[in-house]
């Protein structure tokens, strides 16, 4: 079994098992803790619509805070949107998802994807530099922050190297890329990358609690 077969086979399989098990473990571990009942009289009814509202609105910063947080916010948007585009709008990836889910959708031309991939890496590096130099971030950052940055940026970099080739063989670069994705999937449920699924819980909870009070969300 060569490196590519290993990457596409056992590596990705085990990464998938760990991803599924870890995610469910974390979600169940949190949601099965004690519930805090609220007996206060609600000002407004606030069920799941309130949760959905805040899940959407917190993606945007309120005007009073926007200027102070503009730079990191923009960089984070570029990074996330770039990541979304290169993962979900690159045809070989779409084919991957199709094999798994049966769904197909149109992709973007490779040159556009490449540009977006570069933009993603540039914004990721900009954010890392900020994390290393900004006093607030320097104080509050830990291993999780840096390692999560590494495992999310590595697949984009290794993916970009494939068309660039850098003198190595396609299948070796592809294998390294797939292994870096496996690493990302393995780490995802455990560190702050868990925000992938936790964001719905935290924003939704706040939406329900504060909408119930008629307070600003």
């Amino acid at each position: 079994m060569d490196l590519l077969d290993f990457a596409r086979g056992p590596a990705l399989q085990w990464a998938a098992y760990i991803l599924v098990a870890g995610t469910i473990w974390r979600i169940v571990g949190i949601t099965l803790l004690k519930e805090k009942p609220d007996y206060s009289e609600p000002r407004k009814s606030a069920g799941y619509p309130a949760a959905l509202k805040v899940i959407w609105t917190r993606a945007f910063t309120a005007e009073p805070f926007a200027k102070a947080t503009l730079y990191p916010k923009m960089m984070a948007y570029v990074m996330h949107i770039g990541l979304f585009a290169v993962i979900f709008l690159f045809t070989p990836h779409i084919v991957f998802f199709e094999g798994w889910t049966g769904l197909d959708w149109p992709g973007l031309p490779n040159s556009v994807i490449f540009f977006l991939g570069v933009a993603t890496v540039v914004s990721a590096v900009a954010l890392l530099v900020r994390r290393l130099t900004n006093p607030v971030l320097k104080l509050i950052s830990n291993f999780d922050d840096y390692f999560s940055w590494f495992v999310s940026t590595l697949p984009v970099v290794t993916g970009l190297l494939i068309p660039v080739r850098v003198g190595l063989r396609y299948e070796d670069l592809l294998a390294v890329h797939i292994l870096s994705v496996a690493l990302l999937l393995i780490w995802l449920p455990f560190g702050k990358l868990g925000h992938t699924f936790l964001v719905f819980v935290t924003r939704g909870t706040t939406g329900m609690v504060f909408e119930r009070r008629g307070a600003k969300t």
Binding site: G29, R43, I55, T61, L139, H195, R213, A215
Partner: protein, 453 residues
């Protein structure tokens, strides 16, 4: 108004603060060993880790945006005042003790156990530099209610005997005498009589049965007693069947502010019991911010079931009364700006009420830039105004308020919280500032249309 001290000519254009960082004191209560303090802190942190809190503590991304919303950080650039950093010990304990991976955190030493040095250092962060204003909760992209977590973290600090001494004194006095300023039922009764006399207004006291139980805050009773008369005038004008009660008159809740849930419950239950005793349909809370949070949103949970009566902040009551025509006010020819108390507006959801009242007053209303739900905190809430050693820090952040108010060029500055009023008064004196905070309720009381009483 105040006079300028001739010896120190005030340069109004200068940067208003020569900032001296607060003195570092590690106050301790009781004589527990460090080991026991650590355990107490940990146990009482852990008590708070329900599924909602857990998701918040697990969801932080260390993005640092909360720092940009916090007045303490914005005015000092001290990274330790990053709101989520104030929560660090609480978060660390969660991950080690109750989180989904707690076993591995402990086994592999992935997070350190909290030390006594940590707890001592964090006293300043959890008390001196947080007013629980909630701006951080609004900016967090994960929607984490950071301010709420601060209140919970204080439980651990209190039980560990590691809270600022001044705050502890005030809270203890409140627990022992029923009032943070030591106002006994007798003293309350005296001042009510005095106000009834002075302002020539009927003030029912200890009535057996009434629809409305009115309560006051000690700050008002002691420092702004005219509030008692103003409250009475408004409730009388509205034709309410109401009363004050000597067995339940204190709206403030220093148990909540200091982090002692037992004292918090005691204070709340006094009000609930009194209201039930007289068969009240509603409690009208005074101009106090955290009193609203303590009773309106946390009261029923202290009680363990829904409250059998409604709870209104006085601004809500006035808005409702004005909107339904129960009371009428004369037009006031002034320009006015309004400072929203954090616990009533942003955290409490009653932002609109004050604006309804202001509309009825017919003033030229000038909304502050980023007023309303995004308002800058007065800097004195959450018990901070009680903590004398934090004064330099509180004065430092007050510049935000001064700029915000001055920009409106309004004649009058109003608010609906006596603690904010106290903070503003203190800072006004410190800075020789032009503006004095007035009370929304007093303005309504002074301008009531007579034909309704």
């Amino acid at each position: 108004m105040t006079t300028v001290d001739g010896r120190h000519e005030l340069d109004r254009e200068a940067e208003r603060l020569a900032y001296k960082p607060p003195e570092i004191r590690h106050d301790k209560q009781g004589d527990m060993e460090s080991e026991e303090r650590i355990n107490k802190a940990m146990h009482h942190f852990v008590k708070n880790f329900n599924t909602q809190t857990a998701s918040y503590l697990d969801g932080c991304l260390h993005c640092g945006m909360c720092a940009d919303a916090c007045h303490f950080h914005v005015r000092t650039d001290d990274p330790r005042y990053t709101p989520i950093w104030k929560i660090e010990l609480f978060k660390r304990t969660y991950k080690r003790q109750v989180g989904p991976f707690a076993f591995f955190y402990r086994l592999l030493g992935l997070k350190r156990h909290v030390t006594i040095e940590d707890l001592e250092e964090w006293q300043h962060l959890l008390y001196d530099s947080c007013t629980v204003c909630g701006r951080c909760s609004l900016v967090c992209p994960m929607g984490i209610d950071v301010a709420g977590l601060i209140s919970m973290a204080r439980h651990g600090m209190f039980k560990a005997g590691l809270i600022p001494e001044e705050l502890h004194d005030v809270a203890k006095r409140a627990a022992e005498t029923g009032s943070p300023l030591g106002i006994t039922p007798d003293k309350f009764e005296d001042r009510v009589e005095w106000m009834a006399d002075e302002h020539d207004v009927e003030i029912p006291m200890d009535v057996e049965q009434a629809d409305v139980l009115a309560v006051m805050s000690s700050i008002e009773i002691q420092k702004y007693p005219q509030s008692i008369a103003a409250t009475a005038k408004i409730l009388n004008a509205a034709g309410e069947s109401w009363t004050f009660r000597t067995d339940g008159f204190e709206a403030t809740n220093f148990g909540m502010l200091s982090g002692n849930p037992d004292w918090q419950k005691e204070a709340t239950m006094k009000l609930i019991d009194a209201a039930i005793k007289i068969g009240a349909k509603m409690i009208v809370l005074p101009e106090c911010g955290h009193a609203y949070m303590a009773l309106r949103w946390m009261g029923a949970n202290m009680y363990g079931k829904p409250l059998p009566f409604k709870v209104y902040h006085i601004s809500e009551y006035m808005a409702d009364a004005l909107n339904t025509g129960k009371i009428k006010v004369k037009k006031v020819e002034k320009s006015v700006t309004y400072h929203d108390p954090c616990q009533v507006s942003r955290r409490g959801g009653a932002t609109q009420a004050a604006r309804d009242v202001i509309k009825h007053l017919g003033v030229d209303f000038r909304e502050m830039e980023y007023g309303g739900d995004y308002n800058w905190c007065c800097g004195g809430g959450g018990g901070v105004v009680t903590i004398k050693r934090a004064d330099p820090l509180r004065h430092r952040v007050f510049k935000l308020k001064m700029d915000q108010v001055e920009k409106t060029e309004a004649d009058e500055l109003l608010s609906s919280c006596a603690n904010c009023r106290q903070s503003f008064d203190d800072s006004q004196q410190h800075f020789n500032w032009d503006y004095t905070m007035g009370s929304l309720m007093e303005m309504v009381a002074e301008n009531l249309e007579e034909d309704n009483s």
